[in-house]
Symmetry: D2
Subunit: 411 residues, 4 copies
């Protein structure tokens, strides 16, 4: 005895591939569909509208299927208000709580749609009843009594449509390839950065220590000074090696200008940490003139905020490192608010962490020498990322060159 329900979708549902995904899901999950109405946009600028009856063997299966379709933007014909249940304890969600996607989302309260703020994937939605607000809330921040949305009822996801007019990069979303013209791609990234910069957008760099080892620190420091990087996310290692390079000319004991290890170099990274611990913080070390160049120096001098998140392999760490990982996540969320573009280079850990906190509409470019790192980032849900297989040590000098060239052309 099958059960069924009608749903509807609208928008560029064919050419954005949403319709295909919907049919796939239903079939994968053993359901059936009947198309009731299918008004195809006749031209490529017209939206389409579809109404379908979804059927499954029993109520349980139907619920699961509809739950998946919901994530693609499908909704019942008549949408009721969301159902909320107060959290029974701190950090404990009510059973069956709604789990967010990283797409823009609305909830229906008293018959009105209100947007969920700060949307990111794998969180709960907490409704502030009086304030008529809805907040995307990670489990760690949930407090007893918070009104948690349960089930998909009254929740609408705006699945990202494929853009009609392709910008430089759109066509590459979700792709990874080492077989692309590197300099062409770098020129495009430069154009995108300059565009975002001119419009006053915020650009976040998420960087790994290989940036320093491979000799790209100078190019990155230039980008910070020139306003092309507005927030820096990194770990203890990037900051330590950058400071080591400034204090001793080495990174992990290797002279960056010759590529050779130097005498006593193996002590430099710990000695660098020790100097900053003595100064009190990176800022104080800059203020006291102990550090006089490099990425961290430019961040301090140009008021570019940085979040240094701790990891279990940290030496020291530097006094600026946030050793509690949940606190570090929160610090990153604070800085991600309103950002327009994220550039992730040579760090899988931080890239996935930042991807987890990003809305799917933020331009995300990820550069890594290992194609598997890029695939993993997308597998973890950061589908909007553009993956570029390249070497940080050649990528940044060429990017800096392109920025300079294009900036001077535009003037």
């Amino acid at each position: 005895m099958t059960v069924s329900q009608e749903i509807e979708l609208s928008g560029h549902i064919i050419d954005s591939g949403i319709m295909t995904q919907l049919f796939d899901k239903v079939m994968d999950m053993g359901g059936n569909f009947e198309i009731l109405i299918f008004d195809v946009g006749k031209k490529k600028t017209d939206p389409s509208y579809a109404r379908l009856r979804i059927a499954a063997a029993n109520r349980e299966k139907l619920r699961y299927i509809l739950s998946e379709l919901h994530r693609l933007g499908a909704r019942p014909l008549e949408v009721k208000d969301v159902h909320v249940v107060p959290a029974e304890r701190d950090r404990v969600g009510s059973r069956g709580f709604y789990l967010t996607t990283n797409h823009p989302t609305d909830i229906k309260v008293n018959g009105e749609w209100i947007p969920v703020e700060s949307i990111e994937m794998d969180c709960l939605i907490v409704m502030e009843k009086e304030a008529k607000r809805a907040l995307c809330t990670p489990l760690a921040k949930l407090r007893k009594g918070d009104l948690v949305v349960v089930g998909e009822q009254g929740v609408m996801v705006h699945y990202p449509e494929r853009p009609r007019e392709q910008s430089n990069f759109e066509f590459m979303h979700g792709t990874v390839s080492s077989e692309r013209p590197s300099v062409t791609l770098i020129a495009k990234i430069a154009r995108e950065i300059i565009d975002v910069h001119r419009k006053g957008g915020k650009i976040v760099l998420v960087g790994g220590p290989a940036i320093i080892h491979t000799g790209a620190a100078k190019s990155v420091a230039d980008m910070v000074r020139n306003g092309y990087i507005n927030v820096l996310f990194a770990g203890n290692a990037l900051a330590t090696h950058d400071i080591e390079y400034n204090l001793f000319g080495t990174s992990l004991g290797m002279d960056i200008s010759t590529g050779k290890p130097v005498m006593g170099g193996h002590k430099h990274h710990i000695y660098a940490i020790n100097e900053i611990l003595r100064a009190g913080s990176i800022k104080q070390a800059v203020d006291k003139g102990i550090i006089n160049g490099g990425i961290m120096y430019e961040c301090v001098k140009n008021n570019v905020p940085f979040v240094l998140a701790g990891s279990i392999r940290d030496d020291g760490p530097l006094p600026d490192v946030i050793t509690d990982v949940i606190a570090a996540q929160e610090a990153m969320r604070q800085q991600l608010g309103g950002c327009s573009m994220v550039l992730m280079v040579a760090t899988l850990l931080h890239s996935v962490a930042v991807g987890n906190c990003l809305q799917s509409s933020v331009k995300t470019i990820c550069v890594d020498i290992n194609p598997a790192s890029l695939t993993k980032l997308m597998d973890r849900g950061t589908m909007q990322a553009i993956g570029i297989v390249s070497d940080a040590g050649t990528f940044f000098p060429l990017l800096a060159e392109q920025l300079e060239m294009q900036e001077s052309e535009k003037k």
Copy 2:
């Protein structure tokens, strides 16, 4: 005007490659050497003795060269007591502090050699004057007034000699290759594990979440139950996916028994975390019968301690996760004391972190699908590691098979 100093070395300095490294270092750093005495062990069981005069262009250079040779076990003819300086502040070492290697180390106090306890790389040595003890101390644990060893004077490193009688693995130290007979290597690891287990040694597993995704959870749970794993180091992900698998039969929403995604599976990992948060801890979830199988269950049931270290990409996290990374490092150090063997599988972050806290004499086997991960572990100083390029999902079932087979043969 060159300056010079005489040094001496003894032991299997030729065939362990120490002499070669010493000559290399001197030449790399622009120094000169003259061999004064060279009593070569005539047979392969005899130790050798060498006395050399090391010369350099100036005092500064000579000091650097001797500092490097020191790390290979070379020492001045006459060794004076260590020089100690009290730490001026918490977490701030006195300038020029001695930086440890991960090899056994002694310091000379009042003319007597005393061993440095809990040696690991990149730490300071703190002398407890009255107690006649010396402690290897990470910067984070240094307290104001601690007597910190400064300079190499009075410090002697016991550089590891190449073993005369090769055990199963010794010949492979520091090597990585995907071109080895996998089953042969797995059989050897099984033999080593059984040997260590019979002698009452402690075996630590450092594991990544791929163990669960690739379907190896059952084999690892069996190894815990059978006493072949005595301590578990992992992150939030491994524990979460293991519990998700136990509660829902999935890992990251994929049914492990079919390899297919299941309905509603994308919520499972957060729901699994939520259940444990509700229960209070993994142990309580086991006690309440919520979890009734899997790796974490076996750890609880068999009193196998586990350290779950936090990272910035954690969802939740589980209540057992230590979110402060420095606290997590300390928890790992506690458990590493007296361990005989470390098996690292499918996690670069945790492997490097654990390698940082390990003495170079601990048997260390690292399995990863990416050869670059293995190289990086060794580049970071865990030179004793044996790297095996393989897939966790096939490695563990074959290892479990070998353990069973060899165990039954021996009976």
Copy 3:
């Protein structure tokens, strides 16, 4: 002044994603579309039918767009006979010749559709006028006067539809992941192999030398003997190392049973080649009792044909190696006729080469330790391949186990 043309498509064009790809192509290429008829299959078992008007800025652009849509199975409402032009010279195609996909293809001749035989990607179609046959022909085999199809007119491609009833693997087509349950996948491959074997299907193994280095030779030899491998494609290296292992117990000088290099082992692979050169061929070496085990031995004994294709890094090579690469391609094509399943393990070069000669409907499983190798195979057009990231040395022993277990269960 836009130009336009009507086209039609039918089949499971929505749920197979064909419609989406079609819309994508039109927009990517700057064209426009209007939907004239769209009869959507109401239920998931019903086919759909669509008629569209495709428009572009000029005749040239329209032609290009239609050329792309053609590859997805779209066709003009009225299809005329193919247009053929005789090849002016050996190996020189007439300008504008039709380039094949790897999907089943028909051509219209005198108003009738005839299938193109031995279809594979990137070839020409040669029509044999009297014989009413059409042959897929690589450039290298084209002869002066051959009637070569020019343009898309009269050619119809049967783009593969997504299967309604999913078999074990179908859902994974075109995917690569290291995050899959390895043993589950291996069990499925075993089931598929047994199924194909029972139905009398032909299974081809394309193998790299890592099969021998990683100690999987015995398992593969067993599979050959038990009839699970019916054709072997490999290079000089696999055969040489297999024979070296049989003659000396080593592979590239390493003892497979201990994983250690043996005395004089570096000479073994050349000495092995020399012995076969002396014997005259691998078969003669088997007949004379020089080789008495291993993969090549089992091939000879069980009449399993093998193609050993030469490469520029070959030592020797063995007398059986086909040193002309075009001749080797032809030999592979001969053996691929009628094959049901191809298993590619640990060789990118041979996998891509074989993929180039395969129809898209042949089940293709590719196992490699490097995920990038799998991606590259699919990027090169072998979209039907299922990529599995694993280690040959653990994969084959577990596969052999599964085959034995499942075979005995079925009995």
Copy 4:
């Protein structure tokens, strides 16, 4: 009953690590040694001399140990003439034939040492009795009656000593790392290329098709025109994509200047091949003005010889491709004679093939995005290679920049 023999070594045997390797070998193989004389060079510029008695359990083992030591340059106190045996047939070596290393080698004939010409690894030594010459001969070129050296007697290997004065790169021999300052390394390579070029040395580029896909063709074409590349080794793919780029602006159908696929682009590579087949050869296509730019064009215009070696995955192939792999090897050997430097970029197959034919004294730099490719090259015996993990598409533009900058500085 042990047997023993005395051997001697001389040169920089300690600091080049030869002595250490010797001791290692003896112990690995279960032998014993006694040091009879050990005159250590007192200063770093003095050579050393050692005489040892090597002992083993039986004659067979002793022979094997001595055979290994031979490869390090150790020799019996009294060296007899080589022993030669005529080849019984074409391509069949006499049993026990001597197998070459890739180090300079002499043989003793009538009491005099004569050098082996064109030394490369894994070949035989053929003595031309009257001509007093010795030729390094691959098995494939051996002819019936050739006088083949058998056993190590009378053969002396000059194991490469570690250079006293380090040039820019020497310190990195045999290393692979992605953690090096890329631009620094590229600047060094540029310096080396300019030095070799000024001294009239021959520089060989071994390149893969990724050079074209990643957009580096222009930089490489410039290097050919400017005389920095004197020989090109590649396959059908590099040449085809280069010509496709010249004819259509695409590489594998992707527009290099935008990174986007173009209309009808999938046909371009086959159409490019067809045009060259029609012209007759690449040179004829250049002469007829069909090709007017790119790498192959510059090779033709600047009389830079190229060897295009066939592989089984070739489409077409181009008429210039040598489809017989043994003929292609020979063509490469011809061009390698007298070359001073080899630059291998983005091709494992060709790099290993060329490495096989190179003497160990030729400067070899290998650039690849995958560190495992570099490791494999060295594992296959090309120990002198310097491995750089980078992206061809960023490497070449930066190299071209450095060449130009350094060249203008020097003027």
